[in-house]
Amino acid sequence: MGEAVKQLQRNHLTEQFTPLLLELQREHPGVIAAQVCTSDGFVVAQAQSDEEAGRRLAAMVSSMHALGEAMVTDLQLGTYSHLSVEASLGKCMLFALPGTGGQLLLAAIADGGMLWGQFLTACRSLSEALGKIASSGRS
């Protein structure tokens, strides 16, 4: 029974998150992929068609998030917010959704043409919107 409820809740989040992830891509064509995953590496919602790539990304995102959080805790830097990775052909942004206790994470990948500040702002806004949805579902 408990598992069924959890699955329904996750399905509900998937339905609510997916349009917002797709909207990020529509508004910012430089965004190649975006997903929300659990902190233990399972996809909740994603705006990309390659499911296997999505699963791989979720596993990496959960590890990166956990390492970032462990570093922040160890260095006593307060509350973990986000992590960014910049490469020659693109960049990734990993956010913990506010209000979820770090249990839901947003990951977005953009091509090299997207400006870093623009990408950061878009991801921050989206993470706040997604966090509000997730929090309201819990209350």
Binding site: S39, D40, S62, L67
Partner: protein, 183 residues
């Protein structure tokens, strides 16, 4: 001069990797755990990055203990964590459906380390799940042309973990590997 030895703890989710490192490294241990949402395993949290702890030996040497995530989806991290390691402890949960298949996965995944021969296998929960027996493990290893020590352990007990590390260090000495030296 003090030496550092990087040792890896691996095995399935719930096999006791985090517990084992915590048992000997204590509160200074670094953990990267997340809430477990996988309903197939009754466990509140799971390691998704790596665990890290240290033990200082009486001669000043330091054992740096790294625990891997157990699930196969984190295999990309296994390869990263294995870099520079001198030995590996594979923990097997005897209460799982096919512990020998589990062992096989980790022997294959850490093949480069296994080839060095500095490997110890710890079998947990054998008091409630006696099969496969230690003999079965040795036969299985023999079928793969491997001669490795296998112990029945309770990784909550520090002396059990230290015993496996002791054996691992003895094997390291036999191979002549001297770790990384620091002034």
């Amino acid at each position: 001069m003090a030496e550092e030895h990087k040792i890896i703890f691996t095995g399935t989710m719930g096999a006791g990797k985090t517990t084992a490192i915590s048992a000997v490294a204590g509160k200074s241990m670094l953990r990267t755990e997340a809430v477990n949402t996988d309903s197939s395993v009754a466990k509140a949290t799971t390691t998704v990055g790596f665990d890290y702890g240290e033990i200082q030996l009486p001669n000043g040497d330091v054992l740096r203990l790294y625990g891997t995530p157990g699930q196969r989806r984190f295999a990309f991290l296994w390869r990263i964590i294995a870099r520079g390691a001198l030995g590996i402890v594979i923990l097997v949960d005897n209460s799982r459906p096919d512990p020998l298949a589990d062992l096989s996965l980790y022997l294959d995944s850490f093949d480069d380390l296994v080839k060095t021969g500095v490997v110890v296998i710890g079998v947990g929960r054998s008091e409630t799940h006696p099969e496969p027996s230690l003999d079965a493990y040795y036969q299985f290893l023999e079928s793969r042309q491997l001669m490795l020590p296998v112990f029945q352990v309770d990784v909550r007990e520090p002396e059990h973990v230290l015993m496996m590390l002791d054996v691992l260090l003895s094997m390291l000495e036999l191979t002549g590997d001297e770790g990384v030296t620091h002034g």
